[in-house]
Amino acid sequence: MPDDTRQWRGDVTLIGGSAEGLLARVSEVWHSRGVLGFLVWRDLKVKYRQTLLGVLWAVLQPVLMMTLFGIFFGRLAKMPSDGVPYPLFAFAGLLPWTFVANAVTDSGNSLVTNPDLITKVYLPRICIPLAAVIAGLVDFAIGLGVLGVLMMWFGQGVSFRVFALLPLAVLMTMVAMGVGTWMSALNVKYRDVRYALPFLIQLWLFATPVIYPTTLVPARWRPVLLINPLAGIVDGFRSALLGTPFDGHAIIASIIGTVVLLAMALWYFVRVEQSFADVV
């Protein structure tokens, strides 16, 4: 047998030192996509175990919200809705919003509720909050189906703009991943994040044009609204589904905002993840 001192071709694991560059991390996550898949599968299995209840809940949540909003804001407060029926207007906004809110909550708590996955085994930790976000997409798809039914009910047609849904969904997922991973890491370090999170999400709801149309915001304040990357995305969803006016600037702001957010979140996550096992 030849001397294999120099040509080891199997896996090599390096620990410590500067062996953990960003590129190495990305490839690591790619290599463990199997585990990521299994974590998503676990979340889904558990959630839809009692199939009826799981699906029903995914349908009920946005429908109830829509009904509530329809009564309070549509009927009572006479909220303008860019010329489409208010329930549709609300639902189209609630669709991405519900996804982001649930995904951020689930992934924000994912690390502290799965301490074994951190202290007992090694897998790229980022898989844990990412899996929670991805699992939420099934609820989103169900909600989209419900919206389709509602649109037929209201006799609302669709245009070619509906194809914009896919990139918008990608963008929405990226926002949820950014905030979710960030919150999950913060949650490990500061345990009261868990309690602050629902409150922050509520604030975020009001900073996003879900209940109200962007046109309700005075023009000079609109740039402030666009700091929130979700604002442009929610508007985009409405425009794609209901044909409300499309604001190119808002989308560009959203794309920039989302990329910056995700990059910062990942940077923070990678920086603090080393100490997770010592702390959890």
Binding site: T5, D11, V12, T13, G16, W41, R42, R191, D278
Partner: protein, 421 residues
């Protein structure tokens, strides 16, 4: 020489220990501290600097491919921390390490098990988390199910399993992990006694299958049996590394107290009966840690019963310098115990033991059902032979000695006095 499978170079791990309580903090604390900072700066420098301790320091060694290395040492010596670093669960503060080969780590069994999922689903999930491929798992599913003995429950949610079944299934998955390097922590101590035996057999097979294994255990006999080499850790440093029999001998002779009495460390989980204290006496009842070979050894074990128990079994195991369990004594008390303190005492015939040093393991259990408290290396004593009955060095003959009143009688002998001349 080929590259070692594992190479550690100056690994150190520093932990913060706190007068501050838990390591995680709250945002509220951070905000308050920041606000209070100018105040404290005015008062006086850093009065309450956080203290750091080194859980591991300057760990450097190599493990050649195919070797089975045992890590031994007292609680808190850093064995588990070292294993966690190799498993990449914890990050070293300094130093680096290199592992060549696919690494599988078993720091615990059943990681990621979800009670709502069925046995089969959990096998897949747990396997994926441990790094098995889907194909591997399909191929091994049969073996795993067979090993775990939970055949008919594979499609039942794990929440309906008994704790024994869950543990068996979890170990079965771990036992079929097929990596080139295996890092295992105390996985032997699961299940009932029969299953433990099976686990031990499986570990043995894994150790002999040519892969590289690093194995942490309190069970010295297991280390002695499975490992060719061992490393002894003390207060975060490797104090010795070498043949496992030598290392175990050194550990037992240096790190267990040869005092006539000792307090037993409490169990991690209180399950009803806690062994508290053990003392050794000579036949006259005087405290003694050194016993003359032919003399009986008396032992008293004090224990507290926290909750009523209906039956109690106590086992005493004596382990010699090589880590071999040479003697086991066991008693079941079929009576109900109300909460309180109890003392069990009895006498060993000293002459059964060859001269040398013995370490005592105790366990209290409800026979075949559950352990209340397993306490290893609670005390040690010496058996010496100062008064000679005959000339053999006993320990050169065998590990135990049986005093048998042998008879001798002639069955066919010629009575010819002349022959003897």
């Amino acid at each position: 020489m080929a590259h070692p499978a594992i190479r550690l170079d100056g690994i150190g791990k520093q932990y913060r220990i706190g007068a501050r309580g838990p390591l995680y903090r709250t945002l509220r604390d951070s905000v308050m501290e920041t606000l209070a900072l100018p105040m404290r700066m005015m008062q006086r420098g850093r009065a309450n600097a956080t203290s750091m301790i080194w859980a591991l320091q300057d760990i450097s060694f190599e493990v050649p491919a195919g070797e089975v290395l045992g890590l031994i040492g007292r609680n808190g010596a850093g064995k588990s921390t070292l294993l966690k670093i190799l498993a990449r669960v914890a990050r070293p503060t300094c130093g680096h390490a290199e592992l060549r080969g696919r690494v599988g780590s078993l720091l615990d069994i059943g990681t990621g098990f979800h009670p709502e999922l069925t046995g089969r689903e959990n096998v897949f999930l747990n396997g994926a988390i441990l790094g098995m491929s889907r194909r591997d798992m399909r191929a091994k599913m049969r073996d795993i199910v067979e090993f775990a003995e939970v055949d008919e429950f594979m499609d039942t949610p794990v929440k309906h399993y008994s704790s024994g079944m869950r543990v068996r299934l979890a170990f079965a998955v771990a036992a079929h992990l097929d990596s080139e390097i295996l890092l295992a922590d105390e996985v032997l101590s699961v299940g009932d006694l029969a299953f433990q035996k099976k686990c031990m057999g499986r570990m043995n097979a894994m150790a002999r299958s040519g892969r590289t294994v690093v194995f942490v255990s309190h069970n010295l006999a297991a280390v002695g049996e499975l490992c060719s080499r061992a490393a002894l850790l003390d207060r975060g440093r490797v104090v010795d590394i070498g043949r496992s029999t030598d290392i175990i001998r050194r550990y037992l002779s240096e790190y267990s107290s040869v005092l006539p009495a000792a307090t037993i460390a409490p169990p991690t989980e209180h399950l009803g009966v806690v062994l508290r204290h053990v003392s050794l006496m000579d036949s006259a009842g005087r405290p003694a840690s050194e016993h003359e070979w032919s003399e009986p050894i008396r032992m008293a074990v004090r224990m507290s019963v926290d909750a009523p128990v209906s039956s109690l079994s106590v086992g005493v195991t004596l382990v010699n310098e090589l880590g071999v369990r040479v003697l086991f004594s066991w008693m079941t008390f079929q009576q109900s115990f109300v909460p309180g303190t109890y003392v069990m005492d009895g006498e060993f015939s000293g002459s059964a033991l060859s001269p040398g040093r013995y370490t005592v393991n105790l366990n209290a259990e409800r026979y075949g059902v559950e352990y209340y408290h397993v306490a290893e290396e609670v005390i040690a004593f010496e058996v010496v032979k100062t008064m000679g009955e005959f000339g053999y060095q006993l320990d050169e003959m065998a590990v135990t000695y049986a005093r048998v009143p042998w008879n001798i009688a002639a069955v066919d002998a010629t009575t010819n006095a002349g022959r003897t001349q």
